[in-house]
Every structure is written in structure tokens, then in C-alpha cells.
Amino acid sequence: MIERINMFGRFEDDSRHILTTVDKAVNLARSHSVWYLLMGLACCSIELMQTGGPRADIDRFGSLFRATPRQSDLMIVAGTLTYKMASRLRRLYDQMAEPKYVISMGSCSNCGGPFSLSYSVVKGVDKILPVDVYLPGCPPRPEALTEALMKIQEKIRSERFFVKEF
């Protein structure tokens, strides 16, 4: 009998059963349906749109955009965050259901970028949100955003919810 391992876990050639853990099965489903919130704040959102478009096409990873935080798992902060917008961004983040993830896309949302000496720009969205993946670039290419999404998927797949308590 040949044993094989795939994304689910162990399965056997002559068997109709796949052995896996609930965590792995759940995480597989979760990591391939990361719906992201449309959080385009500046020019990075143009690249975000390109990433959702037919050439880069992150639909094939199961990611599609949602126009409401209540249906979103991932917030891609694409662009310059100003102080006026900061409270709104925090509120949208609070309205997302757990578990939730954040990609900080581009120099502006990482650290203020070219506006780091400005009076009105927040010097990095990590001042108001916990960020999972920092994506450098000004703006990052769609391939780079796809890579960032894959990092989020990796993170989701490594999570464990069902823990045996002693």
C-alpha cells in the first residue's frame, strides 16, 4: 500500500477515505476564500484593481473583493492614510468579523512613504491596526500583491483552532 500526503493529509491509494484533521480541512477552505475589503485610499488602489483584473487575477486564489467589512476576511490598505481617514479605517477594521487579516500595501501605508514629513499623513497604518503582511513598493506590482496574498494564505494554513486541552 502506497501512502501519499497531499494538502489534506494522508490518503491511501486503495481507500476511499482521506485522513486529515479538522484544522487542515477548515484552513484549506478558509485560505482559498479570502475575501478582501476594498480599501483603496490612493494610487495603490489602481494596482489593487489591476490585481483583481484579468491579467493578475487573484480570483483564482479564491479572493474576491467585497464592498462591506462585514463580509471581508482581509483588509488590503492600499494607499496613503491621512489623520482624517484614520478613525474611519479603524472603524471599518472593527466591523470585520474575526478572524481577520491586514495587508499594508505600499510605502505610504507601511511608514508614510514619500509623505513621511507631512503634517496630515499617518506614519504607517500599524499605528492603528495590527498588520500581518507589509508589502513594500511604490506602488507594488500586482505580482507582489499576489505574493502578499499567498503569505496570508500560508499564515491561515498554519493556524490551529482545535486544541486539545488537558
Binding site: Y119, G124, K127, I128, P130
Partner: protein, 162 residues
């Protein structure tokens, strides 16, 4: 700018115009007193043969001890531009509003108020347009002191969210 047009503009404005200059690429610039600004704009807009019907842009200037306002006008009829300038003292910057003459001046003047703190008398809704309502100071003034932060968020990179 052709001398004929310059003559027509100065005859339309009469003694309102304090001085006239020709900055390169900007057409004609007319300096007027702040109290006669709406009058000057109305005359440039209404006069036959001038008809500067479009307000292209309106902004402020920090001139050191004074604050300036600039209205850039354009005439489709004669295809030329003119700028109308005025200046007010910095400690009490009040200019009559032009939004009864040009509807476009409404938001331009709000932005000028937002950035320079120039108040426009007679403006129907003069409040900040870009910055938050409770922002302190006027950022495009030369003597603007940068804030430490806003709404509990500091400028420095020390207090990042865990």
C-alpha cells in the same frame, strides 16, 4: 498680451486696479485692494469684449507679514487669462467672498481658508474642506508649527500597534 487688451482691462477696472504686471506664462496680473475684489471680478466678468466668465483657480499666498489671494480668470471669448490679486494683513485676514460672482469660488475659498486661514466675508458655508474640523492651525502658512500628531496618533514610529 496685446497692448489693446491691456488697455481694455485697465479701462474696465478704472481706478480699482492698483498695479498691473505681466508674469511670464500667466497673462496679466492685476493687483487690487481687498475691499474692491468682488467689484473687480464682476467688472471683468460682465464687461463686453472681455467676459472672463471662468474662474480657473483661486488660492492663497503667504507673503511674510501679509497674506495674499489670487483669482485666475479665463475668457473663452478672447482666449486669454488674467489674474486678480489682493493682499490683507496677517493678523486679521478678511477678504470679501467671490462666490456670488463665481459659483466655483465656493470650494476654492474653503480650501484657501483651510490652508491659510483667510476668512471670506459673505461666504455661505466657510468651514474646513480637507482637514478635520477640529484641526489646529493653517498648514500652508510659513509660520505653521507642525503638530505632534492628531487624535491620539503620534508622528513618531515608536508607538506602533502590537
Amino acid at each position: 498680451m496685446e497692448p489693446k487688451l491691456k488697455e481694455r482691462i485697465s479701462s474696465a477696472l478704472g481706478d480699482i486696479a492698483l498695479s498691473m504686471t505681466e508674469p511670464p506664462g500667466l497673462g496679466l496680473a492685476v493687483e487690487v485692494g481687498p475691499e474692491s475684489l468682488p467689484d473687480a471680478l464682476a467688472r471683468l466678468k460682465e464687461t463686453e469684449g472681455l467676459r472672463f466668465v471662468q474662474l480657473m483657480f483661486q488660492t492663497g499666498l503667504d507673503l511674510g507679514d501679509r497674506l495674499g489671494v489670487v483669482y485666475s480668470l479665463y475668457s473663452f471669448e478672447i482666449n486669454s487669462k488674467v489674474s486678480v490679486k489682493a493682499s490683507v494683513p496677517k493678523d486679521d485676514p478678511v477678504v470679501p467672498s467671490a462666490c456670488r460672482i463665481y459659483r466655483a469660488a465656493d470650494w476654492f475659498e474653503r480650501e484657501t481658508y483651510d490652508m491659510f486661514g483667510i476668512r471670506f466675508a459673505g461666504h455661505r458655508d466657510l468651514r474646513r474642506i480637507l482637514l478635520p474640523e477640529d484641526w489646529e492651525g493653517f498648514p500652508l502658512r510659513k509660520d505653521y508649527v507642525f503638530p505632534e500628531g492628531y487624535g491620539g496618533i503620534k508622528h513618531d514610529r515608536e508607538d506602533i500597534c502590537p
